[in-house]
């Protein structure tokens, strides 16, 4: 394979004045970008800044309304992803495009021309060669469903390399990896860059970008808000470029004052019937009032199942969950809510909120017990007042309580959902990825709301992939892997290396002891 060593043109990719307009939104508004050969270039920006749109333009998924794409010095028109791959642009999406029921080799063969795909023995050989060379061990005969997220990402990268990509686009590649896996990915990327392959690295994690990237282009509201050499400037400066001058970029978190025990989970096991789901295995932990406990983990390791078990969407035996000494394992979600439990699920549209319904109706979804329903009849006045209160108290930007949930931005809807739960004064709040895909301003507001609830005496369980968030907010922390929960220990005592081991399933013991309990 060749990785473009022969290409001597300094500029691999140049974008000039890219404009892409969607109904009601100018996603890209005259963006210029240059990527040199052998450069690792970061594309930074908040959600909604236009990163994804720009990427889709480069990869030929969409056509720009105006502007030019110049590839190796020649103006080109990228009509389709197939054309982009032909030119040497490879893309690794955030949500992998792999068939779980096929093997690694079969998945890679799907993207190749028929004659290359047919010779399976040669292809297997090629996959082994490429993966060994870049330190990404892969067995071509394994089924994708049996691979970890990190390994799946390797399949995607190897696929791009076999297609002889000279520009590799990675969309938030580290969000599904353990810290150790991140290190090995970066080693691979640096090696690729040394050999002349360009990398466009899309992220909002500033530390990583400073670590890895030669240059960075920052987008805000569809425009370039700045260029920098990340290693030379501080993360605060980069963050300012991303969010503008008027948004706070972090929360001050006071020390937690944990009180008495509120939630006891013991020996919680649950067998999934979904072939790609995760079974929970003897999960046990304890939560006290006035503390935030974090559970880290790579996506798909049982976080979703754990949340559903706690919320009541998965029915269990009564004894395995106790709230204030009361067994609640067999209660339905609305019954648990009446006992003081609130839940913020990972998917805000299509689980936390009904997309087509108004904010007022969505308040009714979980807050019916707040006097919004009397003798089976809805009290529309109170429902609207409740929704208005959430909007006011949590600074939700919207056109009033009648706007449909789907019309709000991710961050604003998340503020609304957190607010809806927080206003019910829960004793226990379980939140999954509360700031995932949320803009920095809203994330700060959400963190403040969580800390405020904690200070009021609520216990909060925070399930997140964002380690910075966990370290910032939690006074105890642990990790989940393959449906098993690591010990929970004081955050100050758990180094990133230790947490990474837990995330990879190495608990150092049987994984059911709760250190702090």
């Amino acid at each position: 394979m060749k990785t473009g060593k022969t290409m001597s043109a300094a500029l691999r990719l140049k974008l000039e004045g890219i404009v892409k307009e969607y109904p009601g939104c100018r996603a890209n508004d005259g963006i210029d970008l240059t990527v040199e050969a052998g450069e690792i270039h970061a594309l930074l920006g908040e959600n909604g800044a236009g990163k994804s749109t720009l990427m889709k333009v480069i990869y030929g998924v969409i056509q720009p309304d105006a502007g030019r794409v110049i590839w190796n010095g020649h103006p080109v028109k990228v009509e389709s992803p197939a054309r982009a791959r032909e030119m040497g642009i490879g893309m690794v999406f955030q949500h992998f495009s792999l068939f779980e029921t096929l093997t690694v080799a079969e998945n890679i063969a799907l993207g190749l021309p028929a004659d290359e795909a047919r010779d399976r023995r040669k292809l297997n050989q090629l996959i082994r060669e490429v993966s060994d060379r870049y330190g990404m061990a892969l067995d071509p005969r394994r089924y994708v469903s049996t691979l970890s997220m990190g390994e799946r990402q390797r399949v995607e990268i190897v696929r791009c390399l076999i297609q002889e990509s000279t520009l590799l686009i990675l969309d938030e590649p580290t969000s599904v990896l353990t810290p150790q896996e991140v290190d090995s990915l970066f080693t691979t990327l640096r090696q690729l860059a040394r050999e002349g392959c360009s990398v466009l690295f899309i992220s909002h994690k500033l530390e990583e970008v400073r670590n890895l990237c030669d240059r960075a282009t920052v987008l805000r509201h569809g425009r370039v808000s700045g260029d920098c050499r990340p290693a030379k400037v501080s993360t605060t400066e980069i963050a300012r470029l991303m969010v503008g001058d008027d948004t706070p970029i972090s929360t001050e978190v006071s020390r937690a004052q944990p009180g008495d025990s509120l939630l006891k989970v013991r020996n919680l096991s649950w067998k999934t019937r979904d072939p790609f789901g995760t079974s929970l295995e003897r999960v046990a932990f304890e939560l006290r009032r006035g503390e935030i406990v974090g559970i880290a983990g790579v996506a798909g390791n049982g976080q979703d199942e754990l949340l559903k078990a706690l919320s009541g969407e998965i029915p269990l035996t009564p004894e395995c969950i106790e709230l204030s000494g009361k067994p609640i394992g067999d209660l339905a979600p609305n019954q648990r809510r009446r006992l003081g439990m609130a839940v913020v699920p990972e998917e805000r549209l299509g689980r936390g909120a009904v997309p087509a319904m108004s904010l007022a109706d969505n308040a009714l979804l979980t807050a019916a017990g707040e006097g919004l329903v009397e003798r089976g009849l809805v009290r529309p006045g109170r429902v609207r007042a409740y929704a208005r209160e959430v909007i006011r108290r949590f600074g939700v930007r919207c056109n009033g309580e009648d706007s449909a949930a789907a019309s709000l931005s991710g961050g604003n809807l998340q503020k609304y959902i957190i607010g809806r739960e927080a206003l019910q004064n829960p004793e226990l709040l379980v939140a999954s990825h509360p700031t995932w895909g949320v803009d920095v301003g809203s994330a700060v507001a959400i963190h403040e709301a969580l800390v405020h609830l904690r200070n009021e005496g609520a216990a909060i369980l925070l399930i997140s992939e964002d380690l910075d968030e966990l370290y910032q907010l939690c006074n105890r922390i642990g990790a989940i892997c393959h449906g098993r929960l690591s010990p929970l220990a004081a955050t100050a005592d758990v180094g990133i290396g230790q947490l990474g081991q837990w995330m990879a399933g190495d608990f150092g013991d049987d994984g059911v002891t709760d250190v702090a309990a």
Partner: protein
């Protein structure tokens, strides 16, 4: 070049214009069909749509046909809002007619104000029983309700045929497959004296009002809406899908059962094999044409009732086949479904593109 493009927001204008547009297109197609058959289209359409309702008796007949449609449609609305595709109103209807008839025949010598309510209640319960079977199959065995309700329709029909040919056959009826005439105490009173219009229409209108209250005001109506729009949100909120499924099916069975009972205790006065010209199936069109809304289904049931009477009128006046009713109903549903596409999509006229290819932009911009 014409292109179908997803609207950023669904068109609420189109939501209500679509049924009207469908009706206009149906009339135009009808016009062309009459021409092709060598009949006078203006005369044909007049016989179909105008003549049947040009006098009080005609209007009363319209109300007569509306009653079962409206009752069935009200129950189906409850199911369809929750996206439970109950196709079984026909079966519930037939069972309602059968159940009411069994009790009415047993009480044929009785008189008193209590007879009629007991007969009607028997119809309601029989309809609920039939819907309950489908509900149980769905909630406990996860059987697809579309298949089970269709199959149950045929079982109900055959059960009814067996009963009128066997146990319930009038011994003095010269071998005709029909029951004895019910006692007067088991018959629904007329709404307008001198016409066949009976209390059933009032039941239908009441059911429509009940549906309106259910979805505009009640918490259970809200829960049904949530289950229909987003079952994961419903599970998250703890709105038990199983409980709501039972509720929707039993309401659907009760109203269709009442419709069947009203039919045998109203215009017919006995059990005959051809109790229903397909009211339960036509009610499905009523629900969609009426936008699953109380006022809408009232208007739609009137229109579809007209297709029954108009079809009869064309048979008599212009010697057209009976299939004309089904044809118009089918056209209406076909055009409605077509027009409904424009609630979510719009047609964009694009200038011929000079560039060779053009990829349609995906609607989602939020994560961009």
């Amino acid at each position: 070049m014409l292109q179908l493009e997803r609207r950023p927001v669904d068109s609420s204008l189109m939501r209500w214009a679509s049924p009207v547009l469908a009706l206009v297109l149906t009339v135009i197609t009808g016009f062309v069909l009459f021409l092709a058959l060598g009949k006078d289209p203006v005369e044909g359409l007049t016989f179909f749509f105008i003549t049947p309702i040009s006098d009080l008796v005609g209007l009363a007949e319209l109300g007569l046909k509306m009653a079962p449609l409206l009752l069935c449609a009200a129950g189906l609305t409850v199911c369809y809002r929750a996206k439970l595709w109950n196709i079984g109103a026909e079966g519930h209807f037939l069972m309602g007619a059968l159940g009411a008839s069994v009790v009415a025949v047993a009480l044929v010598d009785m008189s008193g104000f209590w007879v009629l309510p007991v007969v009607l209640l028997a119809g309601v319960l029989a309809g609920m029983l039939w819907a309950g079977i489908a509900s149980g199959l769905k909630t406990y065995l996860n059987c697809n309700e579309i298949l089970t309700t269709i199959m149950l329709n045929y079982i109900a029909l055959n059960l009814l045929l067996y009963t009128v040919h066997g146990p319930l056959k009038d011994p003095m009826g010269f071998g005709f497959p029909q029951s004895v005439m019910f006692a007067d105490s088991a018959l629904l009173p007329a709404l307008i004296p001198g016409t066949r219009l009976h209390l059933g229409l009032a039941f239908g209108l009441l059911a429509a009002v009940a549906v309106w209250v259910l979805f505009a005001r009640s918490f259970i109506g809200f829960q049904l809406n949530v289950v229909g729009q987003d079952h994961r949100a419903a599970a998250f909120a703890g709105f038990g899908a199983r409980r709501l499924t039972w509720f929707a099916f039993l309401v659907g069975g009760a109203t269709a059962g009442l419709a069947g009972a009203s039919e045998v205790t109203g215009p017919i006065g006995q059990l005959v094999p051809q109790v229903s010209p397909g009211y339960g199936y036509t009610a499905i069109i009523v629900v969609f044409l009426g936008r699953m809304h109380a006022l809408g289904i009232i208007a739609a049931s009137a229109l579809l009732a007209l297709t029954f009477i108009g079809g009869e009128m064309l048979q008599i006046a212009m010697n057209m086949p009976k299939a004309v009713t089904g044809l118009f109903q089918g056209l209406l549903l076909f055009y409605l479904l077509t027009c409904d596409a424009f609630i979510h999509y719009r047609i964009r006229l694009r200038a011929p593109v000079r560039k060779p290819t053009h990829v349609a932009a995906p609607a989602a911009t939020q994560e961009a």
